[in-house]
């Protein structure tokens, strides 16, 4: 299988159409899809493959097509899983936000396929065409907002027993 990170993009005919089928890019105009296709290639990795580590430069990002990826944080003696992502999800938000460094790590917990995109190239394309930039930012914002909502709900710990129930203590 091709490994990521070689930095060489291989645009292929029809790549734009394939990209357009991914949930994250749904509704993106064909012209924008074509631009992205130029910075993108399909990739497939085995379970256990580490996409990135906390602190690394965010030079790539991925759109997951199948499988499962865990976002994690390293801690002495244990690994902490923050969240798992799967089909249809954007893997990586920090490539959009200076200083473009990963806040978490990411590791495949199942064999996973994805589209891999070149972060710097995509940012440059957005600078050149703000319309593309706006379209991508809106989608990234939607993903971030959705994850923020989920994180807040988890913090509420709704499944914990509420203090004092119907049957009085």
């Amino acid at each position: 299988m091709t490994g990521p990170g070689t930095g060489v993009s291989q645009p292929s005919a029809g790549a734009g159409a394939e990209l357009g089928g991914h949930a994250f890019l749904r509704g993106l105009p064909d012209s924008y899809l074509a631009v992205l296709a130029g910075t993108c290639r399909p990739t497939a990795v085995r379970e256990g493959y580490r996409f990135f580590t906390e602190g690394d430069t965010a030079s790539l990002f991925w759109l997951i097509r199948s499988g499962q990826v865990a976002l994690d944080l390293d801690s002495p003696g244990r690994s902490l899983i923050v969240e798992t992502l799967g089909k249809g999800d954007l893997l990586g938000l920090s490539w959009l936000v200076p200083p473009y460094e990963w806040q978490f790590g990411a590791v495949a917990v199942q064999d996973t396929t994805a589209f891999e995109l070149d972060a710097a190239a995509v940012r440059a394309a957005c600078d050149a065409d703000p319309g593309l930039g706006y379209a991508l930012l809106r989608r990234a914002m939607s993903a971030a907002s959705s994850r923020l909502r989920a994180a807040r709900i988890r913090m509420l710990d709704l499944y914990a027993a509420a203090g004092g129930p119907q049957d009085a203590p």
Binding site: R154, P165, P169
Partner: protein, 272 residues
């Protein structure tokens, strides 16, 4: 003089500790059994001298056995959770509306459970699996607090073998957990649902049910095919004490299973 509604006596034939605070009791009738319970209905369980609480029926058996899953959160439920084999309990019921699994025949059945909300849904799942060919896909999405707090964990493999697609996610993983981490609504997008042919049954904390229902509506599943299980303070179970009102509904009679079409406007009113 006709008798008031008396609990029927049931004996605890077995118990299973689902989690540190949740127990499934296997009950067998001592007196005349109560009428057949449908998935989604509840009984009022009585612990001698302490009191009664409404508990969903999590399973039934061919000889009038009842499985009821209880979480120890107060005086009555602590007593119920401490009941060992041989102990007698009182049971009244069944009360309320049921999940109406039969109405999902011919299409996909989606079951979304949060925490102990899986208990009232278990009966619906078991019923659907017993008549597997009546449904297309049976998708079960379960959210639990941690892997150790997953109820009916021992049955997941069996459900999968019987033809259900079961995905579990936890709010907080423990070491060694290789499954999903996140809230249960995050599994919806990955389930590839067919909204036009899906009936969804949701049970869990009210916030979780509201958010899940909203996400399902956004996916295109109509409100009349989304059912939730509502809870309010219940005392009599027979629509005479007034406690379980939610606007026009008396949940012991018009619920606990309510279509989201009916429930949505009521849940939107604060302190209803």
């Amino acid at each position: 003089m006709t008798a008031p509604v008396l609990p029927s006596r049931y004996r605890v034939a077995g118990r299973h500790d689902e989690t540190h605070d949740t127990v499934t009791l296997d009950l067998r009738p001592v007196d005349q059994p109560i009428p057949v319970c449908q998935p989604g209905q509840f009984t009022m369980l009585y612990a001698f001298g302490i009191g009664e609480v409404p508990v969903s029926v999590s399973g039934t058996g061919p000889d009038a056995e009842l499985a009821q899953t209880v979480r120890a959160v107060g005086a009555v439920t602590r007593a119920l959770c401490a009941a060992g084999p041989g102990r007698l309990l009182g049971v009244r019921g069944p009360y309320g509306t049921h999940w109406d699994v039969a109405s999902a025949a011919g299409g996909d059945l989606l079951i979304v459970a949060g925490g102990i909300g899986l208990a009232p849904l278990r009966g619906a799942l078991v019923t659907a699996l017993r008549h597997r060919d009546r449904h297309r896909r049976i998708v079960v999405l379960i959210g639990a607090r941690t892997p150790a707090e997953l109820v009916f964990a021992r049955e997941l493999a069996q459900w999968r073998r019987a033809g259900a697609e079961v995905e579990v996610t936890v709010d907080r993983p423990t070491d060694g957990w290789t499954g999903h981490v996140g809230v249960v609504t995050q599994l919806l997008g990955r389930a590839d649902l067919d909204p036009a042919h899906t009936t969804a049954l949701i049970c869990g904390p009210e916030v979780m049910m509201r958010l899940t229902a909203r996400d399902l509506l956004a996916l295109g599943i109509p409100a009349h095919r989304i059912r939730i299980s509502l809870e309010r303070n219940m005392r009599c179970g027979v629509a005479e004490c007034g406690h379980c009102q939610l606007g026009p509904l008396l949940l012991c009679r018009d619920g606990p299973v309510v279509s989201y079409e009916v429930a949505a406007p009521l849940l939107a009113i604060r302190e209803l």
